[in-house]
């Protein structure tokens, strides 16, 4: 069975590592990008679109909200599940992200358990994965 793939988009390598550890534990194959533009470039070259993207908000070049908007405007990427993972925790920001097309919103700092719960709610935790 082909493993699901997750794209981890954050300008902090440290945060990418934390997210990568979590999704790898859940049997995803992880792909990293340092900002929204790099993520869009990687997606353009992929024949198979990742099932999941974990997206920081504040990034140089292209921020997370712009990335979500671009993904939602591209029919090829329509099936991707988009989760914002950010320190932007104001209600208005959450509403903006969800209105733009994000499926879920995780506020930093988060525990591994909290992230896994969110992904489980989205039906993205493979059967048998142990949190």
């Amino acid at each position: 069975m082909t493993p699901m793939r997750a794209m981890v988009i954050d300008d902090s390598r440290a945060m990418r590592m934390i997210l990568k550890r979590i999704v790898t534990k859940l049997n995803f194959e992880a792909v990293e990008a340092g900002d929204g533009k790099e993520a869009m470039d990687l997606l353009a070259d992929m024949t198979e679109v990742p099932e999941l993207a974990l997206i920081d908000w504040n990034m140089p070049n292209m921020n997370g909200l712009e990335f979500v908007t671009k993904v939602r405007a591209d029919p090829r990427l329509r099936e991707m599940t988009l989760v914002m993972v950010t320190t932007e925790s104001e209600q208005s920001q959450i509403v903006r992200a969800l209105a733009a097309g994000a499926h879920e919103y995780v506020i930093k700092p988060f525990t591994e358990g909290a992230m896994i719960e969110k992904l489980a709610l989205l039906g993205l935790v493979p059967t048998g994965a142990n949190s």
Binding site: R13, N58, E88, E90, K108
Partner: protein
């Protein structure tokens, strides 16, 4: 224009606790032990600036060893493997996380900058026309760590960083 902000030590301490629980001490064995010493030394620091409804800076400062430990925890590597780049990246993310949570407690309309990291003591930082309004100071496994908030004067138009 800056408004009076009510983010106090207990709010900062709660944020710090969440950061420790999430990333630096998930096992709950090495908490930040408060020292209440706002003059404790540091060797490296990172900051984010907040502008809009409130203007100021959130600063994370620590010893190099504490910064290396933080990077090792974030990146799941041994202390000896941590590079300066790893340390900078982690320090930046720590300031970003605390700053983002501070911003959430401010009146709407505040913006958060990208983090700045300086591998030099916090004392070398220059935040013109600011005053420290809050801070958490402690020791993490015997190494100094602090998180502080600096508010810009209400009539200050120039943001220092």
């Amino acid at each position: 224009m800056s408004v009076e902000v009510e983010v106090d030590e207990s709010d900062l301490a709660e944020m710090v606790e969440q950061v420790w629980e999430s990333y630096l001490d998930p096992e709950g064995v090495s908490p930040l032990i408060p020292t209440y010493d706002e003059n404790q030394p540091s060797e490296v620091h990172s900051s984010v600036s907040i502008t809009g409804s409130w203007s100021g800076h959130v600063v994370y400062a620590s010893s190099r060893v504490a910064a290396q430990r933080a990077a090792a925890a974030f990146l799941a590597m041994e202390l000896e493997e941590v590079s300066e780049e790893d340390m900078s990246d982690t320090l930046g993310e720590l300031a970003n996380i605390v700053g983002g949570n501070v911003k959430a407690m401010l009146p709407p309309g505040a913006q958060l900058s990208l983090p700045q990291v300086v591998l030099a003591p916090e004392a070398s930082a220059r935040f013109p026309n600011t005053e420290r309004i809050s801070g958490v100071y402690g020791m993490w496994e015997g190494e100094p760590v602090s998180i502080s908030m600096w508010q810009s004067s209400t009539d200050n138009k120039e943001e220092g960083a």
